[in-house]
């Protein structure tokens, strides 16, 4: 389960509430479970609340990971250790 969609913060109403942009409109979103947000931040929103503030560095890392998976010219894929600093190995 978990229909979760990224939305951009329009403005902040208080510590626990912001408004997110939905198309040409806006809706309130509970932010008590994430660090304080600012307009322009992207939030992953599920069932009326923010689950995570999307850090631009994480977003870049995610995109880069996929780009490299796509562009790898030979198989198997390159060693993963250098791609993900927080990699868990058994």
């Amino acid at each position: 389960m978990c229909l979760g969609i990224p939305y951009e913060v329009l403005d902040v109403l208080d510590r626990d509430t912001c408004r997110i942009r939905i198309g040409t409109g806006a809706q309130a979103c509970f932010t008590g479970l994430v660090d304080p947000v600012a307009p322009g931040d992207w939030l992953l929103v599920h069932a009326g609340f923010a689950l995570r503030r999307i850090d631009p560095a994480d977003a870049r890392a995610n995109l880069e990971l996929i780009r490299r998976a796509l562009e790898a010219s030979e198989l198997p894929m390159p060693e993963a250790a250098d791609e993900e600093p927080a990699e868990k190995d058994p």
Partner: protein, 337 residues
């Protein structure tokens, strides 16, 4: 009539209050000769040829929503049922079932809206009826309209003409009515400009048929959206239907809201949209004719009829993969999973 703020039982009992309501509201607003004569039935003697005949009943809640109201819905609904047969809608009747206590000013607004929509569609309301039920026994207001239209010779539009290879078009964005009503009903405070697309399409159909006389099939999309009509078109037929996901026109807010609620706009209601099936040679003419009309600015080619798989409606994604376009069963509900 200014004496009564709200409908009373007596307004439906056939006595003085009924007569006043008919004369001062319905006959005065609809302004047609048969209604002015206040006879039991309208006599129509100038139709000739084949007639198309349709009826529609409405119970939408709330009775007024962004972009329309139950009155406009009732007129447009029957007009569109006639228009998609290739008939020229001409006369309507309107029957009202009112709940005691329904506000007079709301009824006046509904009737005015019906007159305006009828004028837009070029039809006259020539007959009607009113009944009132006790408070608590009705849902405010129900409206039923029945209409007739003249079907010009030589027009043969219907499912019997559908065949594999036909190109499918719609006259604009899908899911508008369903999402607008859902937003209004759920009380979603969104500040979006979501409006119903309710509109009479007779004029658009005539413009379409003038440019593409060999249209095979027309159907207006209502409850159940494109999905319902698509499945009706192919059920037990020797062809199937394919919709290209990426080609379906969607209003940006409808797309965003349906994403948020987990609703599929292809299954959501429309009240001013139709699907057109034409032979490939006439597809471009059909498209241009609709785009030239105010109610077809965002018309688009959205799919076609295919030989295989027969009897099924499919959606082809931007990736070339496919999913079944299901026949809607129950009302779509917002989901979180």
């Amino acid at each position: 009539m200014a004496r009564y703020d709200a409908i009373r039982l007596a307004h439906g009992s056939g006595g003085r209050l009924t007569a006043e309501l008919i004369r001062e509201l319905f006959a005065a607003t609809f302004a047609s000769e048969p209604l002015a004569a206040l006879t039991d039935a309208a006599v129509l003697d100038n139709l000739g040829g084949r007639l198309a005949f349709a009826t529609d009943t409405h119970s939408v809640k709330p009775w007024r929503f962004p972009g329309g109201d139950i009155g406009r819905l009732a007129v447009a609904g029957t007009v569109n049922d006639l228009a998609v047969m290739g008939a020229v809608p001409t006369y309507l009747s309107a029957a009202f079932l009112l709940e005691e206590g329904f506000r007079m000013e709301d009824l006046e607004a509904v009737v005015r809206s019906m007159k305006a929509t009828a004028d837009e569609a070029g039809v006259e309301v020539v007959a009607g009826d009113t009944k009132v039920v006790e408070r608590g026994k009705g849902d405010g207001i129900f409206v039923t309209t029945t209409g007739v239209g003249f079907l010009p010779d030589g027009r043969d539009i219907g499912p019997q003409r559908l065949t594999a290879g036909d190109v499918l078009l719609v006259n604009g964005t899908l899911g508008d009515h369903g999402l607008a009503v859902m937003a209004a009903r759920e009380g979603l405070e969104l500040g979006m400009a979501l409006t119903s697309d309710v509109a009479p399409l007779g004029g658009l159909v005539e413009a379409l048929l003038a440019a593409a006389p060999d249209v095979h099939f027309l159907r207006d999309l209502t409850r159940g959206g494109l999905a319902a009509v698509a499945n009706e078109m192919v059920e037990a037929r020797p062809f199937g239907l394919r919709v290209w996901d990426a080609q379906v026109p969607l209003d940006r807010d409808v797309a965003e809201l349906s994403e948020m609620l987990g609703i599929d706009p292809l299954l959501a209601a429309n009240e001013g949209k139709l699907v057109v099936a034409v032979p490939p040679a006439q597809a471009d003419a059909a498209l241009q004719a609709m785009r030239a009309h105010p109610l077809g600015r965002r018309a688009a080619v959205i799919g076609d009829l295919v030989a295989r798989p027969a009897g099924m409606a499919l959606v082809e994604t931007a990736y070339g993969s496919r999913r079944v376009l299901e026949m809607p069963v129950e009302e779509q509900l917002p989901r979180i999973c």
